[in-house]
């Protein structure tokens, strides 16, 4: 092993320069040239400043807003500086009581009967705690409440949700999804159209 000291150090030095400096910096340069908005965090900037990243969910609770998924981040939900899932196991009693509470809350909030099944994504915490999306079904459930709170027609809310919805890739891969932040910014009229980098 003694004779490996010099080549090992030289190799580590060369790799550090090549793969630790040249590679990430070249990638940064090219990515910033090709996709400046996406490579910088997909930030929505309006007149009064940066309002969020279309890829990082925000907490919403008000009746006027589309409410996203539960978030397990600490100390507050959707704490972007510390992504985390709940890590609760499938038979955990803690998880069971959390989900029962959320289902009951969702039924009350949206004015649903007590036997309506609630979309799974609306009552389970995401893996990152920052999931920016909802399933179309979970969003559709909230249309009449949002329309009432904003005194607009349900159809106008539906059309906003449709504009904030992305389909499966090639109709095959992934899931259709509504971007909660984009939908709420559209509802508030902060932005007139979904950002191009969404």
């Amino acid at each position: 092993m003694r004779e490996s000291i010099r080549p090992a150090l030289v190799l580590l030095g060369a790799f550090t320069v090549l793969t630790g400096v040249v590679y990430p910096l070249t990638t940064t340069l090219v990515a910033q040239l090709l996709f400046p908005a996406r490579a910088s965090g997909s930030i929505v900037v309006v007149e009064d400043g940066a309002r969020g990243s279309t890829l990082v969910g925000q907490p919403f609770a008000g009746t006027r807003y589309l409410v996203g998924r539960p978030s397990a981040t600490a100390p507050v939900p959707y704490h972007a500086a510390a992504s985390a899932g709940s890590q609760l196991g499938p038979v955990s009693p803690v998880l069971d009581s959390l989900i029962r509470t959320r289902v009951a809350e969702a039924r009350v909030r949206e004015g649903l009967a007590s036997d309506v099944a609630i979309p799974a994504d609306l009552v389970t915490a995401s893996g990152s705690g920052l999931d920016p999306h909802l399933s179309p079904a979970a969003a559709a459930l909230q249309v009449s409440r949002i329309a009432t709170a904003r005194a607009v027609t349900p159809d106008s809310v539906r059309s906003v949700l449709a504009r904030a919805t992305a389909p499966r890739w090639l109709g095959l891969v992934g899931e259709p999804r509504v971007n909660v932040l984009v939908a709420n910014l559209l509802l508030d009229g902060v932005i007139a159209a979904p950002p191009s980098f969404r």
Partner: protein, 580 residues
């Protein structure tokens, strides 16, 4: 299981196989002396001069192994120092230095190609350590895997030779011609989907609806950025798996879209799959490579389908709580706890078995929250020794060891000295092969047993009951087989787990590399024997079947009792609890 899930799975498998064809051919050319593209060839020759070596300096297996150990010790020291000095070095983004045990665990984790995450990226590391520390080891550890494989293949091909190749040349070639160009392409594809690639560390935004807390109101959100795409590209291609963010590829900035998810999951399996085909070319018998790849695909597909079914079915607990479990065109249904909407059930389950079949260990959903059976298959895939695709290089050299065991078993059945690729497999070779299988298994089982008997081990358990046992078993399985994924509830950043898991990672890596290189030396020194009437052909369906059976049997016999105490009991618990 839905039609959509099957279609998405078919897209993943087909993409891997289609891309593996040209890549396998290319890797085979890179592993042999030959013509290189000019600008890179110049860099290669410059590297030889710096290293004062040439391909003609052929190394004995023991020298090759010694250099790997020396290099790895130096790499651990360097990465440890970088983390310990983060607070005083530039580009630290205000983060303090990493505490000693965590820095030690993370250094071993990245040098051994495990990338176990005891650290939480965005809360522990600034820009410097991920860039010039973690990313570099992602490349280097993958290159070491490729090099060891190249040495083993040379051993199988050469006759009465004393050397197995030149480590330094192998490391430079693998990185320059395979890992770097592929990473650059994948990094740009990911940046185009929204994975950050910038030198800015954070961006603060104003929340649309301020969050009213009990005593304070939160009105801003600080979004961690950085050179993420370049690290994520090699994290997947090099079967490393260590995330830029704590939530790894479940984080919407690390993996923003269904397409980025497809790119990443294909990147996880791509090089290990291509290596099988490269192997076939190098031994001048492409069918030998296809046989190994077929065995891998069979086990991967066979364990993904039940995982998909279990996650889509969800749990009786969810159903009785009033949750919709059926998938429809407008919702994923199923067990969505710990999963992201953009990937749904299909994208998460397909990833879970891909990342554990390959020794990648990145996650796009939280395995700790999977259903009992949905968590069992990923755990078992690691326990099989990371030979189903496995790590870059390490998967195939592990699978070749199983191939030796398979021909040995076949030889026992007919009472004839086993042969593989025209070389006799003798007693010493089988002893070395047995070591390769036994060492990680022993670490997994003994490590789990001891962890459950000491306070430090039990203190880390998050979920109660059999699921808590699974958390510990999963952690040891992951570390000793160099995977790196976790049942994340386990409090792994503790003195006990940082130490035990670091040791498991080190042993699981180098106590396999050394016997594998010894095998390379042993085979290289042998004469070739012409195939006779009693030679068991190792490129047909019978061999594939025997190989799959060997891998599964060894895995089942070793780990079934332990799995019975964890996921299997939990499955019963789920059924009984859901009925009450």
């Amino acid at each position: 299981m839905t039609t959509h899930a099957l279609a998405e799975f078919a897209v993943v498998v087909a993409s891997v196989l289609l891309l593996a064809l040209p890549l396998g051919t290319w890797i085979a050319r890179v592993m042999e002396p030959g013509v290189r593209p000019l600008p890179l060839a110049r860099v290669e020759r410059a590297a030889w001069r710096l290293l004062r070596t040439t391909p003609e300096d052929d190394m004995h297996w023991s020298r090759y192994a010694g250099h790997i150990l020396g290099l790895s010790v130096a790499a651990v020291l360097l990465l440890y120092a970088l983390q310990r000095l983060q607070g005083v070095l530039p580009l630290g983004a205000g983060m303090p230095s990493v505490p000693p045990l965590l820095a030690f665990n993370t250094a071993v984790s990245f040098v051994t190609n495990t990338n176990w995450q005891a650290y939480a990226g965005e809360a522990t590391l600034g820009l410097l350590v991920p860039m010039v520390g973690l990313t570099v080891q992602n490349f280097l550890s993958a290159a070491v895997g490729l090099a060891v494989l190249a040495a083993l293949v040379r051993g199988l091909v050469r006759r009465e030779a004393s050397g197995v190749g030149n480590l330094w040349v192998d490391l430079v070639r693998g990185t320059l011609y395979v890992l770097l160009p592929l990473s650059f392409i994948i990094a740009l594809l990911l940046a185009g989907q929204g994975v950050p690639q910038t030198l800015r560390a954070t961006r603060t935004v104003t929340l649309v609806e301020p969050l009213a807390g009990t005593d304070t109101t939160v009105s801003t959100q600080t979004i961690p950025l950085g050179p993420v795409a370049s690290q994520v590209a090699i994290k997947q291609l090099g079967t490393n798996g260590g995330g830029y963010y704590n939530a790894n590829s479940a984080h919407p900035l690390e993996n923003p879209t269904p397409f980025s998810n497809l790119v990443q999951v294909v990147s996880i399996l791509l090089i290990p799959a291509a290596l099988c085909l490269a192997f076939g070319r190098l031994v001048r018998a492409p069918r030998q490579g296809w046989a190994l790849l077929t065995a891998m695909v069979v086990i991967y597909v066979g364990s993904t389908l039940p995982t998909l079914a279990a996650e889509q079915a969800g749990t009786p607990q969810l159903r009785s709580a009033g949750v919709e479990l059926a998938a429809s065109p407008t919702q994923p249904g199923g067990n969505m706890e710990g999963k992201e909407v953009r990937f749904g059930i299909a994208g998460s389950a397909i990833w879970a078995t891909a990342t554990t079949a390959a020794s990648n260990g990145s996650v796009n959903a939280m395995h700790d929250s999977f259903t009992p059976l949905g968590g069992l298959f990923p755990m078992w895939l690691m326990q099989l020794g990371e030979v189903v695709f496995g790590g870059v290089g390490s998967g195939l050299y592990g699978m070749l060891v199983f191939a030796l065991l398979a021909v040995f078993l076949a030889g026992l059945m007919v009472g004839r000295t086993p042969e593989y690729l025209g070389k006799k497999v003798e007693a010493r070779d089988i002893k070395l092969a047995a070591l390769v299988v036994l060492i990680p298994s022993a670490w997994v089982l003994l490590g789990t047993a001891v962890s459950l008997h000491v306070q430090g081990g039990r203190a880390g358990i998050f979920n109660a009951g059999p699921h808590g046992f699974s958390e510990v078993l999963y952690a040891l399985s992951s570390a000793a087989n160099n995977n790196g994924s976790a049942f994340g509830g386990l409090g792994a950043n503790s003195a006990w787990y940082n130490t035990v898991l670091a040791l498991a990672m080190w042993m699981g890596r180098f106590w396999i590399i050394v016997p594998v290189l010894a095998l390379a030396g042993s085979f290289g020194g042998k004469r070739a024997v012409p195939p006779g009437a009693g030679t068991f052909p190792t490129d047909g369906p019978t061999f594939v079947l025997l190989l799959v059976a060997t891998v599964l049997l060894v895995g089942a016999l070793t780990f079934l009792p332990a799995l019975a105490l964890g996921p299997i009991v939990e499955q019963m618990q789920m059924i009984v609890g859901g009925a009450s």
